[in-house]
């Protein structure tokens, strides 16, 4: 259990150390602070979006331990203590875009861009564990990321292309 203090109103606050994109941050959080709000408010990493706060839309997708996509609105900051995460801000390295990001731009796989960070992280997780997915596997991998703009077609194309495979449809 992490260090805890009780403030004058009787509210418990916990000290957590969370690693995000390779940097460790030690902060004080309340027991009901969501990981998504920790990232956005405490770290100002607003690339992680909020579309529902109920685990329905996937806008808040981050990668747990660098590989597992999770909805950060469904995890508490205290649960994330000691864990490592990658957010969309950690996908490109030194101004060089990741291959998936390049393919998203090339195929017009984004419009308003609000779902894009989550989509890219889900795609990244997929291609890390399965470098040559089928089209169906791509659809499955992003089925938890809702997009209201693109109809997914160009997103699927971008991910298939990023995997070096033939572009379907």
């Amino acid at each position: 259990m992490s260090n805890m203090i009780i403030d004058k109103d009787g509210v418990r606050r916990y000290v957590v150390s969370i690693t995000v994109n390779g940097d460790e941050y030690t902060k004080m959080v309340k027991s009901n602070t969501l990981l998504v709000n920790f990232l956005r408010d405490a770290l100002d990493l607003t690339g992680t979006k909020k579309g529902c706060e109920l685990g329905d839309c996937g806008s808040c997708t981050v990668l747990l331990d660098g590989k597992t996509p999770i909805n950060s609105c469904l995890m508490l900051a205290v649960e994330a203590d000691g864990r490592e995460f990658i957010t969309v801000e950690g996908v490109a390295s030194h101004e060089k875009l990741d291959h998936i990001q390049e393919k998203f731009i090339e195929h017009g796989a984004l419009q308003c861009g609000y779902c894009t960070p989550g989509m890219i992280l889900s795609a990244k997780a997929l291609l890390t564990r399965n470098p040559k997915p089928t089209e169906h596997e791509v659809r499955e991998a992003i089925a938890g990321n809702l997009c209201r703009c693109t109809g997914y077609i160009n997103i699927i194309k971008a991910i298939m292309d990023a995997s070096g495979q033939e572009i379907p449809m």
Binding site: R40, C52, V91, A92, L97, F104, A143, N145, L146, C147
Partner: protein
């Protein structure tokens, strides 16, 4: 006619905002933070119809961290809305709350959590009134009247007649009436609405997730009686709108009031449920259509009689009510037309401008009706459409002038792509069916939302001092549709410059010249026309300067992709745009230009004539093939084909993306989407788990094609709209495909598996009798 040698437009240039969006750097309104900022929320009514007897805010004010609690007496009481005759909404409810979620009070607190505590502590005493929930019975005598001014809860009543409909029916070979029913849908952008209001030093700055900074500036200035110049509205990146972010929400007004009271920036925001309650989505309606046709299936006259559910406020719905019937005579040449519509008030969330504004549900009804006629007369659905298809350079019976129109070509091409003739001749396997349907949409509304003589679009271009970049300043809003990209392409094309060197400052009423913003599919044509004009002015100035520098007559010079060369003397060494622009700045100061666009006077003079007018109309056809499982009613979509007449394509990647997205929304509304209410008028599926928008697993394969040589005289380089028209034909195409597959008609949307199953069951039972 069309000039096809373009350097920048017509090419799939990468999105202007692609990089910031894939890296997460793009800041949307909800991502913004300001020093000393407070968080604000609004309190919604728990009842659909209730008198507000008293509001006690004293307990809420005692909570530490609560900085302000406001009710109707703290905000202007001026009603707002779309047209002066129908201003019916208040920043906060004064006497009555009119739907579940209607805004009753608002708070500003140090953090979000404190807001919820404060909202809970506000004590409102209500007298619960009987709600009006069924729009088809809203006018009955035992129904309470929702708005004092509107008897029988009729918000808008439309009666238009063009020609003698009785005569047309009397002369017809076949007359038929069909009725279809639509559902309530919600735009559901993935980004929730928010607004950050900063009222400091007698100036109000509002960051808002809006589709139009100008209209918001107008509404807010009017509400607070401020000069427009003291209200600055900025739209940061906007995460989709689809019509739902075109009008003020209360977040802006109440945020402004809270900021004035506290002297601090206030960020207001909706959660998903509150978005559903605010709504402004698709009207549901009942659509009765009677047509008379000659022996070849050629339409002689149509009478459409609609009743729609507008919800608690007018919103943009008065326009929706007119659009519902006004756009129907576009794809087919209907010589005699009668249009009746009543938009009813109910105690449900207000409906407004949802992608394809007013058109998709009536179009579903009309296209289904066409197939019923075709079937009854033994005519192929494609043929009946070809026989009635609009021709270019014609005028609709309700006075819309149509220039370019590839309706016939779209039908033929969709027929080819989908192998229509072969499939019809040889037949399809059991349970398989194919349907076809048409659509058309305005390329910008011919008249503004509120009455004004302001031009619809304007812009400026400033070339950087050393010529290495140029900035386009435009009040347009890119809500995801890609307008920044195509406007920069158009600017570069007109300037003889490169897209890659364009920058854009946009969506800010203080730094950008006026533009009405993103609605009615207007920015490509209207904003684009202004941009083209400004770009051509830069081009002229560059050529003029280069002419002095090279000592050649301007007529002999051309500038392409930033290189200026002599037309007649290829040996003269070219000079660069950069060199010339720099020289220009040294000798003449800033290299700037402006552009402005006002549409011509359009349309007839009858009541409601302006709605539906446009400088140009897109046309499209969709064909859909489905496989129906007889046991379960499950609909498997094999493929959808979309053929579009969009005039000159500016960016093919963006264009097809728009078609995919519109078809996606249309298909969602066809099979899945519907906002449901309980018997008290409360939404039961106001979340993304319960409101079924399609996932990547549900999206069928699409073939999207455009007519290659279409050219629209009214558009810049011949361009017209694409973003909304593609929502038009979708429902009808699917209904007709199911009709073709199973011989059953589902007469209400969504066309759920259950409804298909029930229709099949009924058919079996009646056949067994």
């Amino acid at each position: 006619m069309s000039e096809k040698n373009f350097n920048v437009i017509g090419k799939g240039k990468p999105r202007y905002d692609g990089r910031v969006k894939v890296t997460g750097a793009a800041k949307y309104c909800g991502d913004l933070k300001f020093p000393n900022m407070l968080y604000g929320k609004m309190l919604g009514s728990p009842y659909a119809h209730a008198k507000i007897l008293s509001i006690d805010t004293s307990e809420a004010m005692k909570i530490p961290g609560v900085k302000a609690v406001i009710t109707a007496k703290d905000v202007p009481s001026l009603k707002y809305g779309i047209s002066p005759a129908r201003w019916d909404e208040n920043c906060l409810c004064i006497e009555k709350a009119l739907f579940v979620g209607d805004k009753v009070a608002a708070v500003a607190c140090v953090d979000e959590e404190t807001c919820y505590k404060a909202l809970k502590a506000i004590k409102v005493e209500y007298e619960v009134l009987k709600p009006v929930l069924d729009y088809m019975h809203a006018d009955e005598d035992d129904m309470p009247q929702i708005h004092e001014k509107y008897a029988k809860n009729i918000n808008t009543e439309i009666h238009q007649e063009f020609g003698d409909i009785k005569k047309a029916f009397a002369e017809a070979h076949y007359v038929r009436t069909d009725t279809f029913v639509g559902q309530r849908c919600y735009q559901c952008p993935i980004e929730p609405h928010s607004a950050v209001c900063i009222w400091q030093d007698n100036k109000l700055t509002v960051y808002s997730s809006t589709q139009s900074v100008h209209y918001f500036q107008h509404y807010i200035a009017r509400e607070f009686e401020l000069p427009m110049g003291d209200v600055r509205v900025i739209a940061p990146f906007v995460g989709g709108g689809f019509g739902g972010k075109l009008e003020p929400t209360g977040l802006e007004f109440n945020g402004a009031a809270l900021s004035r009271i506290t002297g601090r920036p206030v960020k207001m925001f909706y959660d998903r449920q509150e978005m559903f309650q605010h709504n402004r989505g698709r009207h549901q309606g009942t659509y009765k259509i009677t047509s008379g046709v000659d022996k070849d299936g050629k339409i002689l006259g149509c009478h459409v009689d609609f009743q729609t559910d507008g919800g608690a406020y007018t919103s943009l719905g008065i326009a929706t009510a007119y659009y519902a019937g006004a756009l129907l005579p576009l794809t087919y040449e209907i010589p005699v037309y009668k249009f009746d519509n009543r938009r009813m008030y109910t105690n449900l969330p207000a409906c407004g401008a949802h992608r394809g504004h007013g058109a998709p549900q009536p179009k579903y009804a009309f296209e289904s009706h066409m197939d019923n006629i075709a079937k009854a007369m033994g005519i192929d659905p494609l043929d009946i459409r070809l026989r009635n298809a609009r021709r270019p350079n014609t005028e609709t019976v309700n006075n819309f002038k149509v220039n370019s129109c590839g309706m016939k070509e779209c039908l033929e091409r969709a027929g080819e792509l989908s192998d229509w003739r072969k499939k019809k001749k040889e037949g399809l396997p059991k349970g398989r069916g194919i349907g076809i349907s048409t659509g058309s949409f305005v390329t910008g509304a011919g008249y503004p939302i509120y009455r004004t003589d302001l031009p619809h679009a304007s812009c400026m271009i400033r070339v950087h001092e050393d010529g290495t970049s140029a900035t386009l300043y435009s009040g347009t809003v890119d809500i995801g549709q890609g307008s920044h990209t195509i406007l920069c392409q158009m600017a570069a094309e007109a300037m003889g410059y490169r897209y890659e060197n364009m920058k854009m400052v946009a969506s800010d009423t203080e730094t950008c010249p006026l533009d009405f913003g993103a609605y009615a599919s207007r920015q490509t044509l209207m904003s684009g026309s202004a941009v083209k004009q400004a770009g051509e002015e830069i081009y002229r100035q560059i050529i003029d300067m280069a002419s002095t520098m090279l000592n050649l007559p301007p007529e002999d010079l051309k500038c392409e992709l930033g290189v200026i060369s002599s037309i007649s003397r290829p040996k003269v060494a070219p000079i660069t745009f950069e060199e010339v622009a720099r020289r220009f700045f040294v000798l003449r100061g800033p290299l700037i230009a402006k552009g402005v666009y006002t549409p011509p006077r359009l349309g007839g003079t009858f009541k409601g004539a302006p709605v539906g007018t446009s400088p140009a109309y897109s046309f499209c056809v969709q064909a859909a093939e489905v496989q129906i499982d007889e046991e379960t009613g499950k609909i498997d979509v094999e493929r959808v084909w979309d053929v579009h007449d969009v005039g000159q394509v500016i960016n093919p990647v963006n264009l097809h993306g728009q078609v995919h997205g519109a078809l996606y929304m249309g298909l969602g509304e066809t099979i899945w989407e519907q906002v449901h209410f309980d018997s008290n008028g409360k939404i039961v599926n106001g979340n993304l788990g319960g409101y079924m928008i399609m996932t990547a697993l549900d999206m069928p394969p699409i073939t999207s094609e455009v007519l290659e040589d279409s050219y629209e005289i009214a558009g810049p380089w011949g361009a017209k709209e694409v973003g909304e028209g593609a929502t038009n034909p979708t429902i009808g195409a699917f209904r007709n495909a199911i009709f073709d597959a199973m011989g059953v008609s589902v007469n209400s949307v969504p066309l759920t598996y259950e409804k298909v199953w029930r229709a099949l069951k009924e058919k079996r039972e009646s056949e067994n009798k």
